[in-house]
Symmetry: C2
Subunit: 186 residues, 2 copies
DNA sequence: TATTATAGTATCGACTCAATACTAACAATA
DNA sequence: TATTGTTAGTATTGAGTCGATACTATAATA
């Protein structure tokens, strides 16, 4: 029972998921990287749906990211829109065509497969592993809004302590590139 | 607490590991796929260190695998050797140069980070997730020798029930392409 | 022996990716 | 306001991966 074992398992599951992804994407003429872009955009918030955040998330160069985006745009999976606040920034929005693909690839929960307590512990361990890896590599944390240190619950609503903006209910479960937090206890 | 959450975590950790891998591999002139080949060869047994098994494991075509192997061979990371039993089969062996790279990339265990019971449960849940994914996709299981249904403990030694061959101690922790097993209880 | 199946290779075109150089927009300062 | 530097993103090009196809060599089978 060691961290190495767990990381090897994570890697094996990842390999398998990617291998299955490939079979699914082939007929659509898409590459794995394109699906990762779509997945990211489907779960990130309004501060994080731009090429720069994608570049950090994917670990590619910005030129490479730019090309991946162009491919997806030309195939109708996303649309670009210049930010009005800062005209250098491009906002990326998924099309209906893209969200349908993502829906097909999401897993239906088989709740009866493991007991709740085991799932909870597993989720906690993995969350902490992810965070400690992110910390030790000085990479962006890209966590979920509501788990961020900047997140403020005002009782009658939510607010981001960094941008000072009000957050709608649906936004607090999305991934943010500005996410910051300490490790949780288990 | 759901399977989807856990798979998303697995995916995120996988993305991060790959992103870090890339930074490490860049100066060596290697691609991620090459590292996966080396990793696989470092943990597979004598029935599984051939291009065909690699092809199944990686989910690529055999032509693609052949090219990846050639790149690694030309850079001195592995050597080929024709099987004497079956002259169609090529055995792949890692060089010293390759094992050094793998050593650098393996994680040192930080045992104090999580408690043993949590780690054990996590490992178990992930193992079962992996197995059920493998089953539902009819993909090769590629499990560890000693967890295989063909594995025989004879008291004074070990044996493979499929090939009938005697197994040395160091072999029973290696990955085998012929691995078969049922799901474990948790 | 003839046929079929298996293991692996060679070649080529499509495509990804990194590197480089570039433009446009913003920010800071004098 | 003009200057300088920074940030966000794009365009181009060359190296290299990958998949498809066609191929050789060996083994298994009828």
């Amino acid at each position: 029972m060691s961290l190495t074992n767990i990381l090897n398992l994570v890697d094996s599951i990842g390999n398998l998921l990617r291998s299955e992804e490939k079979k699914f994407l082939q007929p659509l003429g898409l590459q794995p990287i394109h699906l990762h872009v779509l997945m990211y955009l489907s779960m990130c918030n309004k501060y994080s749906n731009n090429p720069a955040a994608l570049t950090k998330y994917l670990g590619n160069t910005k030129g490479t990211t730019s090309q991946s985006i162009n491919v997806l745009e030309s195939k109708g999976y996303l649309v670009k829109q210049k930010s009005k606040k800062d005209k250098r920034i491009v906002k990326l929005y998924l099309t209906e065509q893209a969200t349908e693909i993502i829906k097909k690839l999401s897993f239906e929960d088989s709740e009866d497969f493991f007991n709740d307590r085991s799932m909870e512990i597993t989720e906690n361990v993995l969350t902490n592993i992810l965070k400690s890896l992110q910390l030790s590599n000085q990479s962006m944390t890209f966590g979920i809004c509501k788990t961020c240190d900047f997140f403020i619950d005002e009782g009658d609503g939510f607010r981001c302590g960094l941008t000072e903006e009000v957050l709608f209910d649906y936004e607090i479960d999305l991934v943010c590139q500005e996410h910051e937090s300490e490790l949780q206890d288990i």
